[in-house]
């Protein structure tokens, strides 16, 4: 279970996330939706430690956290993609995966090299996202869709409990969307918790088991997608009166 208790984030005097308390069920695919500027990506940034909390607390399993440092997020069982793809551009596709698979200690990593098991795992992941043929290319040489898929592959290479996807389907071709959906379902089969932000209502309806709607940094609605998407408050937030 992932919970937030009255978490806050302010930019100047504007609340991007305003005393938000949500509970995200374990082992399900949860979608977060809301109009532009509703605080969805800020929430992902707060959960992953990319932005510091201005108030409140995040609860992950037994851990109650008021401060999350980015480098601690894998230790508390979280990993993420970014809204704007952020790859390690001038290194190879294969190295983009190896770098998240190998030793975290600066001292021990000096004596470690990518081994056979790393390569086998990277090969499996790159085959899933369809990039094995591109393994020796630099990440910057990939197309936009391929870059998004590599970011998803990099997430697969992380062994955590909670996976945060920030707009994973935006700008993807249909066959690539199917790949990402397949990855999410596969992670769910392994008991992982998936949280994704999206504007694509078709995918949200199809993929999510649980839905959270945000508006102006606050929780507007939550629950089963079919119920939430028929909620008049949600319809108003999206379509107006």
């Amino acid at each position: 279970m992932l919970q937030t208790l009255d978490i806050e984030k302010r930019f100047g005097g504007v609340y991007a996330v305003d005393r938000l308390s949500i509970s995200i069920p374990r082992g399900l695919i949860t979608a977060i939706i809301g109009p532009n500027g509703s605080g969805k990506s800020t929430l992902i940034n707060l959960l992953s430690g990319t932005l510091p909390l201005d108030g409140g607390m995040v609860v992950v399993g037994p851990k109650r956290l008021r401060i999350i440092k980015p480098f601690d997020s894998p230790n508390i069982g979280l990993t993420r993609t970014f809204q704007d793809v952020r790859l390690f551009e001038q290194i190879s596709v294969l190295d983009n995966l190896y770098v998240v698979m190998t030793e975290r200690s600066s001292l021990l990593s000096l004596f470690q090299r990518a081994r056979k098991e790393h390569r086998e795992r990277a090969e499996r992941i790159l085959n899933v996202v369809g990039l094995w043929e591109k393994r020796n290319d630099l990440a910057e040489e990939l197309s936009y869709g391929q870059r998004k898929l590599l970011e998803v592959g990099r997430l697969m290479a992380m062994n955590t409990q909670i996976y945060l996807f920030d707009e994973p389907f935006a700008g993807l071709a249909l066959h690539m969307i199917e790949v990402v959906k397949g990855v999410m379902r596969e992670l769910q089969e392994y008991g992982r918790t998936i949280i994704f932000v999206s504007h694509n209502m078709g995918i949200v309806r199809e993929l999510s088991d649980y839905l959270i709607v945000m508006d102006s940094g606050r929780l507007l609605a939550h629950g089963r997608p079919d119920q939430v998407l028929n909620d008049p408050a949600v319809i108003e937030a999206y379509l107006g009166n």
Binding site: D72, F88, V99, T102, R113
Partner: protein
């Protein structure tokens, strides 16, 4: 017969285009061939003694260039403070090993240790490591333009220490009579033997650097260079990696400084001015960012340029230094325009 002639003339007409294409696609190989051939012919024409000097100077610059490439090319931190560690290494060895008969400065006798070189060398390297660690704890919080500025500050502070801590450095007078390395009672006075020793140290620096950049650690350095915030989300404390490579690199620069001191048997602050750091950055960029081979190539090309310009006919000696800098600057501008990763580089600034 006519068909054959036509084929030959067509091939000849396409030759310049093919050569240009090959040059663009295989610049690293072409540059290596040109620089190595130029070095070989230059050394053959100038004789053995000159060749040994040239190679010794090359080995010292190459140690510096490889060490800076770890920070600049692999980690993406543009440091112009490397000359500080070069100087600390040199001055430590100078202060610990020099044994002048009577050195007076403002009426005070400076401390004389007269240590053997191989006792002073580890102290010099370790001291560079300690200073780099202390400075690096603060530096590793910075990146990009701010990193350039703080490393610039370090170079200025280091230079001022060399000038003003006269009780250690003898200030502008410098330290004379730095002995040659001696081991088990045998002094390495012969230039060729000294070259072998310097090349052995260069081999150690290159070997350690290769081990670093091909390890998981090296891969993380490149990721830090590409996106420091993103790599942190995957569980890495980027500041620790930046600090570690900064310290390792500084120790290598200290080793180069130590070799310079014992080679020239004299050090003064003029060897460690900011311009030396700028030249070093230029060598690393010209040779190739994130490429150990590139740093070796860059250092060799630089030493050739340094020495070669002296023998250009009709060039007045007082203009030699300026011509060197013009050539180096022009090369740097051309590379930034047409090949920003340098000749053998793997990373574009």
């Amino acid at each position: 017969m006519q068909i054959r002639q036509q084929a030959i003339s067509r091939a000849l007409s396409q030759l310049p285009q093919a050569l240009l294409l090959s040059l663009r696609n295989h610049l690293e190989i072409w540059a290596t061939v040109v620089v190595v051939l130029a070095a070989a012919s230059f050394m053959l024409s100038r004789g053995t003694g000159f060749s040994i000097t040239l190679m010794t100077v090359f080995a010292i610059w190459a140690m510096l260039a490889v060490s800076l490439n770890l920070v600049l090319g692999y980690t993406g931190l543009l440091s112009v403070g490397h000359v500080g560690f070069y100087g600390i290494g040199a001055y430590t060895v100078a202060a610990l090993t020099a044994n002048p008969r009577q050195e007076l400065l403002e009426g005070e006798i400076i401390q004389i240790f007269a240590w053997p070189f191989f006792a002073a060398l580890p102290v010099a390297v370790a001291l560079c490591g300690v200073v780099a660690f202390v400075v690096g704890v603060a530096f590793s919080r910075f990146r990009d333009d701010v990193y350039v500025l703080v490393s610039f500050g370090f170079a200025i502070i280091a230079y001022n220490v060399f000038v003003n801590w006269q009780w250690v450095t003898r200030g502008p007078f410098g330290i004379h009579q730095i002995p040659k390395p001696a081991i088990f009672g045998y002094t390495i006075n012969d230039d060729l033997e000294f070259l072998v020793l310097t090349l052995a140290f260069l081999a150690i620096v290159v070997g350690i650097s290769w081990l670093i950049v091909t390890s998981s650690f090296g891969r993380v350095l490149k990721a830090v260079r590409e996106d420091e915030d993103a790599i942190e989300v995957f569980g890495y404390r980027s500041s620790r990696y930046k600090l570690a490579i900064w310290v390792i690199s500084a120790m290598m620069a200290g080793l180069a400084g130590a070799m310079l001191a014992t080679y020239t048997s004299f050090v003064d602050p003029n060897s460690f001015i900011l311009l030396e750091s700028i030249l070093l950055v230029a060598i690393v960029i010209l040779g190739g960012l994130a490429s150990i081979w590139g740093s070796l190539l860059g250092a060799l090309a630089f030493v050739l340029l340094e020495e070669g310009v002296r023998f250009v006919p009709f060039l007045p000696p007082e203009h030699v230094g300026q011509v060197r800098q013009i050539i180096l600057g022009t090369l740097l501008v051309l590379l930034m325009l047409f090949r920003p990763q340098g000749v053998a580089g793997r990373f574009k600034l």
